[in-house]
């Protein structure tokens, strides 16, 4: 319908620079900054700035009556560490054990939901998620009932002489579970289990089930398939889950307070009582700074080692 003469290809004989070049208007370029402004401001003022404030508080000396002054008193850190190192070690230890237990308990459950639950998947998912919406303090108190001295759990453990073994190992005391390390770790594990199961499930669910068949086809036994295919592919979930469990568990003081005795106090309990009861703000600040630094260092090393930096 239109006749076109075949022309020579339109070349660009002139320099591009000779043509007027358009620039994006400034107003348009500022859009992302306006979007960021309120939220980032909030985080800077109420998250980042407080950390700086706390750093300065940790170096102050004084008392409530006379007020605190910045005296660059680094000794607070040494004193705090010298006095509360058992609680630090206990926090890291309890959190690590709870994380490992969460992984061991959570993996089969995540695997079950991802590959085996079939039409029950939704129901199981609901049962994993729903506790999130029930006050976890109430649920933690329920463990007091479950592990009560005269209760069926302790009775069964006694009958099987398991408590004798655990007492010998030092994780329970006498014929009771409450107010022992076992109860605290049990509570920690329970409280953070969903944080392990959900990321594990997310990364397991992404695995194409045909990979299992392919592995089987290539002479891998089920155990080998798991070790060589499934588990490596679920690594992002493992890393995310362990971090989401370990970090809050290390700073927790609720389980130690409700299920433990004074011998199971964690560093969170110390910070809480220094801040809210003793009102020794410099010590509380120094302790939480040490906790933060320790956790950030451990998390960084862990992420580097596991080779999943893109997770962050």
């Amino acid at each position: 319908m239109s006749t076109t003469e075949a022309p020579a290809p339109p070349e660009a004989p002139t320099e591009d620079a000779a043509l007027p070049i358009r620039k994006t208007p400034t107003r348009k370029r500022l859009v992302p900054y306006w979007l960021l402004l309120p939220g980032i401001l909030w985080l800077v003022v109420f998250f980042a700035a407080p950390l700086v404030y706390q750093a300065s508080t940790s170096l102050q000396t004084g008392s409530l009556e006379e007020g605190f002054k910045l005296t660059w008193h680094f000794a607070t850190y040494w004193d705090a560490l010298a006095e509360y190192w058992p609680q630090f070690v206990r926090s890291v230890g309890y959190a690590a054990i709870a994380t490992v237990l969460c992984l061991l308990l959570g993996y089969p459950l995540a695997y079950l939901i991802a590959f085996k639950a079939g039409r029950w998947r939704n129901l199981v998912m609901i049962l994993v998620i729903a506790p999130f919406f029930t006050s976890f303090l109430i649920r933690t108190l329920a463990w007091k009932t479950i592990l009560a001295d005269g209760g069926p759990v302790v009775g069964a453990l006694n009958a099987l002489h398991i408590l004798d073994v655990t007492s010998a190992l030092g994780i329970t005391e006498g014929h009771r579970v409450l107010a022992t390390p076992l109860a605290v770790v049990c509570g920690l594990t329970y409280n953070f289990l969903p944080f392990m199961v959900l990321p594990l499930y997310t990364s397991l669910e992404r695995i194409d089930p045909r990979l299992h068949e392919a592995a089987g086809d290539l002479y891998a036994r089920p155990a080998t398939t798991f070790r060589r295919v499934t588990f490596p592919l679920s690594m992002p979930g493992v890393v995310a889950g362990t971090l989401l469990t370990f970090i809050p568990a290390a700073g927790d003081y609720i389980n130690a307070e409700l299920l433990g005795s004074t011998d199971q106090k964690m560093i969170g309990n110390v910070i809480q009582s220094q801040f809210l009861r003793v009102l020794d703000y410099p010590t509380a600040a120094a302790l939480s700074f040490i906790l933060m630094a320790a956790i950030l260092a451990m998390v960084t090393i862990y992420i580097r080692k596991s080779g999943t930096e893109d997770l962050v």
Partner: protein, 393 residues
């Protein structure tokens, strides 16, 4: 610089004037002049990353040109945002709104322009694309072909001056694609709107478009009617990208008359001077090209029967593959290399098996000449330039 004669008023002409696009140091489109006449079906053809989609998006207003202007129906629209241009697009993968049903997808443009009673128009449009009963379905419930028709309806209902189609058939399977090609051509003839169509599929471009612009590396290599581009390619890229070509390097032994005489691999070839896109002087090199389907294979024993005046070359059959409508041969010609030949399957010669000595011959009129200063492989499948990612552009 592109001269075009239009049968209609220049009402809906698209004029691109020295338009270009650069991203940082990467130039997606070099300064380009192009006039697309009103009412035509125009195709921008090229491999991924050649700048064709960027050009289309600059017409739509989705991409701001670094330099140059876009004119629609005689009006400079370069500074207008997409929602103020009388241009609509059928997007790659359709971009149908997943949260709206088919009816609301089609009505979207009318509603945004403040038109209250859309019912009649939407129903008419859905009938045009034969989707009336699907009005209340969601896009995800439709097949690929149906989604494609919704995308066309959603754009056409606005009566744009120009309809832009970005790889509209890319997501469809081969059979459906053939059917939709004819369907789109029918709709275009019916509504008479200018269609600008971007595709990497040369067959699709040639089937539908009146005019094809072949793009490569951000430039238009050649522009013209499909048959003209095919029969008379101006560059090796066009020769290879549109169909298949045999290209052989040859030396000019005689020049000046209406015919050039060339030698290649010991054979003497003749080429009409007007079919050579480069000025050729005696002693210089040119590329002689010819299409595989224009060549006839004769067994060496029958060489005497070859008509006088044909270009001829002797060789040996290397591979013979039966395709159905044709048999495709790869022939080894000493001193030249491998050439392809497509023979229609009428009275097949049983002697033409691998290893057989043959003579291939074709009319000089079917030869074309190209500048020898370019890659023989430009535009072929293995050409590295063709693998650039369009999204990266």
């Amino acid at each position: 610089m592109t001269t075009t004669s239009t049968p209609q008023s220049s009402g809906g002409d698209v004029r691109l004037h020295r338009i270009s696009k650069t991203y940082g140091s990467f130039t997606a489109v070099h300064p380009l002049d192009l006039t697309i006449p009103a009412g035509s079906f125009f195709a921008l053809l090229g491999a991924s990353g050649c700048g064709k989609t960027t050009t289309l998006r600059m017409i739509a207003g989705l991409e701001e040109p670094t330099t140059g202007t876009v004119e629609l129906a005689g009006r400079d629209v370069t500074a207008l945002p997409p929602y103020k241009r009388q241009v609509n697009t059928v997007f790659q993968n359709y971009a149908l709104f997943p949260h709206l049903d088919i009816y609301e997808n089609v009505a979207f443009g009318l509603r945004r322009r403040g038109i209250k009673s859309v019912k009649k128009q939407v129903e008419e449009m859905l009938d045009l694309v034969q989707l009336g009963p699907m009005a209340r379905r969601k896009p995800q419930q439709l097949s690929g072909g149906q989604q494609q028709r919704v995308a066309v309806a959603r754009a056409l209902i606005n009566h744009p001056e120009v309809l832009l189609l970005d790889e509209p058939l890319g997501a469809l399977d081969l059979k459906l694609r053939r059917q939709m090609q004819l369907e789109l051509k029918r709709i275009q003839t019916e509504v008479g709107i200018t269609f600008v169509h971007v595709t990497h599929d040369q067959e699709e471009a040639m089937t539908m478009a009146d005019t094809v612009a072949v793009m490569n590396g951000g430039r238009v290599e050649q522009l013209g009617a499909p048959a003209e581009l095919y029969e008379n390619p101006a560059t090796t890229f066009v020769a290879n990208f549109l169909g298949t070509s045999n290209l052989i390097e040859a030396e000019v032994t005689e020049a000046g008359g209406t015919e050039l005489v060339l030698t290649a691999g010991g054979a003497t070839l003749r080429l009409p001077t007007r079919r050579c896109s480069t000025p050729a002087r005696k002693g210089e090199k040119v590329l002689a090209g010819f299409r595989p389907e224009k060549v006839v294979l004769a067994h060496a024993d029958d060489a005497a029967a070859i008509p006088e005046g044909h270009n001829r070359m002797a060789g040996r059959v290397k591979i013979a593959s039966f395709i159905g409508v044709s048999t495709q041969y790869v022939v080894d010609v000493p001193g030249v290399g491998e050439l392809s030949v497509y023979e229609q399957n009428i009275g097949r010669d049983g002697r033409l098996v691998p290893g057989a000595d043959i003579v291939l011959h074709w009319e000089p009129e079917h030869t074309f000449g190209l500048d020898a200063d370019q890659s023989l492989l430009a535009g072929t499948v293995g050409d590295a330039g063709a693998d650039l990612d369009e999204e990266a552009a």
